[in-house]
């Protein structure tokens, strides 16, 4: 047992850090530090920057353009990514549909879709949830009926993140209702958002932003060649996709970054007042979250170590999602508490790229704290709510 990284691993980390420090686009870094909303173009520019270095699809097999890194290298890379406060990678292409395509797709599909995902030429979104199918996803009703060499799709998908930016959507659709189990008869279909009959309707979320959408399908004709794998096997593929989500789902590195920044902020007097470090209640809460986060970091490392030695991730991996999101949310609350009265001003326009930071109401990103807190209530709901995660652990780990 030892804690230290090997010399090779440390050299890898230093190499990555050097590139980030010297080559990462300065304006993107400034935007992030100032809490500026990242535009679609900037998001793509950022992902292309990673791709140019071969650092975009870090979990993919090498033959499809992945890195071939060890779990520890991936861990160190994600740590460095968080250290410079880089934007999140939009996961729908590279982390979700990509692995399904290279695992279950045809050679034509691999050739057609994977390079554009790697290069962020195509923006993907995810069509899983429906108005009537949230936690009970298998009850989904969006239908895809075969008509010649096309499927005709009818139904509604919801909570579709950034569908307004998307070129393509991957969907779970019902291709058969005549099944013994509801999980059967579900298929995995790739749909061009430009196809006639697809409409995107914004849903404004709690903090006032347009992040998610309803996507309606009305007699949308989708080439049968866009079916991934076997008809009726979509549920199985969807589950595989969820396994690929596991990496970094706990967001340990980003939470560490945010804690460190909050601690630094707490040490500075704001508007001439005593620094927050003198507030025992606040500091005790901060310390408690730090302990929980440190524990989670090692829970994640134990998972990585198990995977690296060829074992299936143990029970420790199953708790990553719900503990990780609870910690994210606890940190969000602390930012709101730290802002005091200045959690109140609702002035989203001052986070536009062209708004002068020193003209803002509140210091730094103070007024972004409450919108972030409100928005991230989603974290314990999405990706299978935390209660669903506990059902899964109960069934598959505890055997209940």
């Amino acid at each position: 047992m030892n804690l230290t990284f090997s010399e090779d691993e440390l050299r890898f980390r230093d190499d990555v850090r050097k590139v980030f420090d010297e080559e990462f686009p300065a304006d993107l870094r400034e935007f992030r530090d100032a809490g500026v909303t990242i535009s679609r173009d900037d998001q793509i520019r950022y992902q292309k920057w990673l791709h140019e270095r071969g650092w975009f699809a870090i979990n993919w097999p090498v033959e499809y353009g992945g890195t071939g890194w060890t779990p520890v290298q991936k861990y160190l890379f994600m740590q460095e990514l968080a250290r410079i406060n880089a934007p999140d990678i939009v996961p729908f292409g590279v982390s979700m549909v990509g692995p399904v395509i290279y695992t279950f797709g045809s050679d034509e599909q691999k050739e057609r879709f994977l390079p554009d995902i790697l290069a962020s030429n195509v923006w993907w979104c995810q069509g899983y949830s429906e108005p009537g199918s949230g936690s009970d996803l298998a009850s989904l009703k969006t239908r895809a009926d075969l008509d010649g060499d096309h499927y005709v799709v009818n139904g509604t998908k919801t909570w579709t993140t950034l569908a307004q930016f998307a070129d393509w959507i991957f969907c779970l659709v019902r291709t058969s209702s005549d099944v013994a189990r509801r999980q059967e008869g579900i298929s995995f279909l790739l749909i061009d958002m430009q196809t006639p009959g697809v409409t995107v309707k914004p849903i404004i979320t709690i903090e006032g932003e347009h992040e998610v959408n309803e996507v309606h399908f009305e007699d949308v004709r989708v080439p049968a060649a866009n079916l991934v794998g076997e008809e009726g096997e979509g549920w199985t593929y969807g589950k595989v996709l969820l396994q690929h989500e596991r990496t970094n789902i706990a967001a340990v590195h980003y939470s560490k970054f945010r804690i460190d920044r909050l601690r630094a902020q707490a040490e500075r007097p704001v508007r001439g007042a005593a620094p927050l470090t003198e507030d025992r209640n606040f500091m005790r809460k901060l310390a408690a979250v730090e302990v929980e986060l440190r524990a989670l970091e090692f829970t994640e490392l134990r998972t990585l170590a198990a995977v690296a030695s060829g074992k299936a991730p143990g029970p420790e991996s199953s708790i990553l999602k719900f503990v990780g999101t609870e910690i994210q949310q606890a940190i969000d609350e602390l930012y709101v508490e730290a802002a005091g009265y200045y959690a109140l001003p609702f002035v989203p326009e001052q986070y536009a790229p062209d708004f002068a930071v020193d003209e803002r109401i509140g210091e730094g990103n103070e007024t972004a704290s409450a919108p972030r807190y409100f928005n991230f209530r989603k974290a314990s709901i999405y990706g299978g709510s935390n209660e669903i995660q506990k059902n899964i652990v109960s069934k598959h780990v505890l055997g209940l």
Binding site: N2, A287, F298, L301, I319, L398
Partner: protein, 374 residues
Amino acid sequence: MDFTLNDEQSMLDDSVAKFLANDYDFDTRQGYAASTTGFSPEVWRQFAELGWTAVPFSEADGGLGYGPVETMLIMRHFGRGLVVEPYLANVVLAGGALARTGDTEQKSRWLEPLIAGELQTALAHTEPQSRYRLTDVATTATQDGDDAYVLSGSKGVVLNGGNAELLLVSARTSGGQFDDTGVSLFAVPRDADGVTVRRYATVDGHTAAEVGLDAVRVSRDRLLGEPGAAGAALAAVFGDAILAVSAEAVGIMQILTEKTVEYSKSRVQFGVPIGSFQALQHRMVDMLTACEQSYSLLLWATMLAADGGDTDRAVSSIKYQIGTAGKLVGQEAVQLHGGMGVTWELDIAHYFKRLTAIGQLFGNADHHLDRLAV
């Protein structure tokens, strides 16, 4: 970064597990706890024969030269086995203090027999008023001529104090009651004039004692280390002790979770196993989560200590963690066992009590969170 055990560690881990599985069931443990000594001297001799009492000490001191990882392995099993033999008091606390402060002659006089399992010892540092403040020492040691000291004061809840033939007593040779420096450590024979020991059982099936020192005269060769310089060694020993009881607590939390899950599969109410109820399932998942998070933090803190790093924050982190997680797991295990959970008959209650006791030792969760909140 490596979480695997080497061959020697695996052997140690297996041997402790095997011993407890074969020779230390719950009823046997209850028998030892109820005996006049409060533990089994025979089992203690076996610990020594198996080399477990030598684990953390350097080879020069007659030990095996192992470290925090090996102590963690032993203590985690001792948690699962609910072991009452005074390993913490002898090996971690008193032995740790002797190893850190004693000279060669003192070590051969006291540490060697301790390692051999022939000398029962106790670290008498905490005082009735001191609570968790390590530097609060009101007991005094005044020099009496060139070659002796006279000790006066009281020590409270001295673990294994009622069994100890040798007490390692902290006392001020200089400074005021709360000063950081000026504390010295003395090896005091229990039968010295002026020593009173009031022995009692503790709620967790272990034993402790209130120790009185009324003008106890000890020769200078019983002073361990330089006068007034024991503070750092004591802090380090208490750090080791926190890691040790944290490993014990993790062992207890793990077995409590396993036993609770098993019970919920067999206990039938309303015609179904109670484990089929979602309200209970999620609570058991919370117990599992508390175990996994605590174990992760324990590995971090222990490996940091093994690397010789600064463990101040790590030690407070793990003690805070097992204080809060231990309470959750202990209380939930009792609750999910229903009425049986509050009977003396069932081991669940005794695991819960040991977890509660560990929570009170060496600074509770609040104390350590306060240390971190800076």
